[in-house]
């Protein structure tokens, strides 16, 4: 058996807080009407602070993370998927969307406690549109729910580092129209003070996430990506809540402490892996298998690094969690200028949208390779995700680019929202062949 260096392990202290926040998030959305609140629904990360500015009792459902959460409960997800298919909805459409549409069709919404409650009908659909599905998702959902009004913001301009003033203006114009639209359909006013508070929380959360994320550049890594999955959705679900920035700061400090003390996420760490896009949520045991049997740990991706998070690029090319504006900088501006600054921060510093959706996969490959270099990764595992046309964009080209740069790449097929498209045994076999080819022996015989 190969000699393996052993690092000390400890459970994450902030873990339970993430669990509590998740429960609060979904429950408060489901119960919003009990206290006279409003439900806004749309793609996660559709400029949350703008929506929050219509009242503290506005609860926003980011429906991809909801659907990912539903996918964990594979029997429940299967019911949703089948409800769609029996209505003639194509099998190959977005796996998340079908968990959502299916929930409406069977009138069931699942909470993190496994409790199933009646589907909480949205009051307003407010969404960004990047992949071809987003705004169409809520268009039909609104129809299924009996006519929920929808507002969509087109993000199909240059976003990420190539964003220009003209692109920001395009988004801003739409946002200003959207504010008027919400005022009309809800009878509520946009509250500038509330926006300032929410947006400062949001940017602080996004930035703290980046700071926490950077700690995984250390060997051993203080947190594996599987655990990061439990935290990072808050970046797009409720970053505008003060609890989220507090949680991310706490996580950051805990990771720093773990690094200082040499605490590892996986004591047997010996092979560090980049992933890509949403995984097969109901089958994260595949990652556990790799850790246990091979000491191979998944540590990062453009997905968890960039979704909702802003990065600045230093002169030497390294990525640094983006700086955020101060309260004074925000407060002194008029509404339009403030929104502009917020939009510019949200969309120009985070590349996930642009590299994934507007489809510049040359840029995405470059970012993947940058993360591999800075996070000291040894190889990549790419999910060929049948459930998401967005994250499937360019993945095979990314694969070729990573191989060309000298790293080994494993691909596996699945569907983030629908376990029926995943072959567990076949994937394990692929993993074993992959590591065997790399000469990495099993740490556990017969594992």
């Amino acid at each position: 058996m190969t000699e393996v260096k052993k690092y000390p392990e400890e459970p994450l202290k902030t873990w339970n807080k993430a669990k509590e926040l998740r429960l609060k998030y979904f429950t408060s959305y489901a119960k919003a009407h009990e206290t006279g609140g409003l439900r806004f629904c749309g793609s996660a990360g559709s400029l949350n602070s703008i929506q929050q500015a219509f009242g503290r009792d506005v609860f926003i459902l980011g429906s991809e993370p909801y659907s990912a959460h539903a996918a964990f409960f594979s029997d429940f997800a299967r019911k949703c998927q089948e409800a769609c298919e029996s209505r003639g909805i194509a099998h190959d459409l977005c796996g998340y969307m079908k968990n959502y549409w299916g929930g409406i069709l069977i009138n069931q919404f699942i909470l993190p406690t496994h409790e199933i409650v009646p589907w909480p009908k949205a009051d307003v659909m407010w969404t960004q549109h990047i992949c071809c599905t987003h705004a169409k998702w809520y268009q039909y959902a609104g129809e299924l729910e009996g006519g929920v009004p929808e507002f969509g913001i087109d993000f199909n301009c240059r976003i990420g580092h190539t964003m220009t003033d003209r692109d920001i203006d395009y988004v801003l114009e739409q946002v200003l129209e959207g504010i008027e639209w919400v005022e009309k359909v809800t009878g509520r006013k946009f509250d500038d003070e509330l926006f300032i508070e929410a947006s400062l929380n949001e940017l602080a959360a996004n930035s703290a996430w980046g700071q926490a994320y950077e700690y995984n550049q250390n060997i051993p890594a203080p947190i594996d990506e599987k655990s990061l999955y439990s935290f990072f959705p808050f970046n797009i679900l409720c970053p505008q809540w003060a609890e989220t920035s507090a949680l991310f700061r706490e996580l950051r400090d805990e990771l720093k402490d773990r690094v200082d003390r040499g605490i590892a996420a996986v004591g047997n760490e010996r092979f560090r892996i980049l992933t890509d896009g949403p995984p097969q949520w109901a089958m994260l045991q595949v990652y556990r298998y790799m850790e246990k049997v091979y000491g191979a740990v998944t540590l990062g991706s453009t997905y968890t690094a960039y979704w909702g998070t802003g990065w600045d690029v230093a002169e030497d090319g390294s990525l640094i969690a983006a700086k955020i504006p101060t309260r004074e900088e925000f407060a002194q501006l008029n509404r339009e200028a403030r929104l502009r600054k917020y939009i510019a921060w949200k969309l120009s510093k985070q590349e996930a949208y642009s590299v994934t959706f507007t489809g510049c996969h040359p840029r995405k490959s470059a970012l993947m390779l940058k993360i591999m270099e800075l996070w000291k990764l040894d190889g990549a595992i790419i999910h060929l995700n049948r459930g998401c046309e967005g994250s499937a964009m360019g993945v095979l080209e990314n694969r070729l680019d990573i191989i060309k740069a000298g790293y080994p790449v494993l691909t596996y097929e699945g569907n983030m929202g629908d376990v029926r498209d995943f072959d567990y045994a076949g994937t394990i076999r692929k993993i074993e062949n992959f590591f065997e080819n790399l000469g990495l022996e099993k740490l556990i015989k017969g594992g």
């Binding site: 003639g88 190959d92 268009q139 129809e143 199909n156 395009y170 114009e173 739409q174 060929l384």
Partner: protein, 375 residues
């Protein structure tokens, strides 16, 4: 009429010949939202990149994941096989993800002198869309000027607008003849007219259209019309299938209209000229009957389909669903409900460049027999 078929059959030879004859440059484009007017203004020949029915697309499987539509994979496959080796440039006006992927892979593996990505808005109902797309066209024009080393003047733009506008107007005139009880052209001929318009020099195409317009009033159609069908679909240049339905079934049928981009969607709306040429071009493209991927938050497409059904006296619809075409699949559930409300029977066909049309024959026949009231 035979010119349209010949051009459709021999598009690569045509483009090669054109280059030889004119010494001009040819640019391949990936979606019909690309402003061809500006290319004609620059004396560049725009040709739409198509796949090839019945041709193996395995060569693209290392580049585009097979959950993307066969059309996008087939387009790239044709490029990788060298069928488009005459192109001097490629461009895309941002449309669905699948065809964007074909563009990016093309750019990476098939380098040409010039390559350009236009950020065509998806929000064709969004505030600011006109100004934004106009800005994109300004930058596109500037980049063409840089590539070609010449200025594109207002007079050039007027020329380009004129060529494209005339082409689209003529096709609209011709489509009027499809409203006849005995349509003067078949669905197959209509498809060849639009297909060839997208792969030839529109000046030459315009001459053929004008000629056809003069002939159509007296044209005798030696076939039974049968059921008046409409195609509602994803990208559809499947001539074999169209021919099979119109000529190969035991029950007569004719495609009298369609809503897709190798059909009426390509030329439907009027061009409104203005002092600011690029603004007028931007407006024309944004106001087109929308591709399903751009039809949100309001559904503008369905009322357009309804108008077509009424104007062309459609009796049944074939929903041509390119396999894995998310934009169209996303519309299907609501579209079915809509057609039910209009009392229009429909049949959904999932097609693939690799599926021979013959396999669908019995299914379409059964549909006509069981769902359509035959007179």
């Amino acid at each position: 009429m035979s010119s349209f078929k010949n051009w459709s059959d021999n598009r690569h030879d045509y483009a090669r010949e054109w280059k030889k004859k004119t010494g001009g440059k040819v640019l391949g484009y990936f979606c019909t939202y690309l402003p061809e007017e500006i290319l004609y203004a620059a004396d560049v020949l725009p040709v739409r990149i198509f796949g090839q029915h019945g041709s193996d697309i395995g060569i693209s499987s290392a580049h585009i994941y097979d959950m993307y539509c066969p059309f996008s994979r087939s387009c790239l496959a044709e490029g990788l096989k060298g069928k488009y080796d005459y192109l001097d440039g490629v461009a895309i006006a941002q449309s669905c993800m699948h065809i964007r992927q074909a563009f990016w892979s093309w750019q990476k593996h098939l380098p040409v002198e010039y390559s350009y990505y236009i950020y065509m808005p998806h929000g064709v109902q969004s505030k600011g869309r006109y100004e934004y797309y106009r800005g994109e066209l300004v930058e596109f024009k500037e980049s063409l000027e840089k590539w070609l080393g010449r200025t594109i003047s207002d007079a050039d733009l007027d020329k380009g607008i004129d060529i494209v506008r005339k082409n689209k107007e003529s096709m609209r005139k011709i489509w009027e003849f499809r409203k006849n009880d005995r349509p003067s052209i078949t669905g197959l001929e209509a498809m060849e007219i639009v297909f060839s318009s997208q792969v030839t020099d529109k000046r030459e195409h315009n001459e053929a259209l004008e000629q056809l317009i003069t002939e159509l009033p007296d044209r005798k159609v030696d076939r039974e019309t049968g059921t008046r069908l409409m195609i509602i679909g994803s990208e559809d240049d499947d001539r074999e299938f169209t021919k099979m339905v119109e000529e190969g079934l035991s029950l007569p049928a004719t495609f009298v209209i369609e809503d897709h981009c190798v059909g009426s969607r390509y030329f439907w709306n009027d061009f409104t000229p203005g002092e600011d040429r690029l603004a007028s071009i931007a407006r024309w493209y944004l106001d087109r009957p929308p591709c399903p991927s751009k039809d949100w938050p309001k559904r503008l497409r369905f009322s357009h389909i309804k108008n077509l059904i009424q104007e062309y006296k459609v009796e049944a619809a074939i929903l041509m669903q390119q396999k894995f075409c998310d934009p169209h699949e996303l519309d299907i559930p609501a579209l079915k409900t809509y057609l039910d409300e209009l009392d229009i029977p429909y049949y959904l066909i999932e097609f693939d460049v690799l599926v021979p049309a013959g396999q669908l024959k019995t299914r379409v026949e059964a549909f006509l027999e069981t769902r359509v009231e035959l007179v």
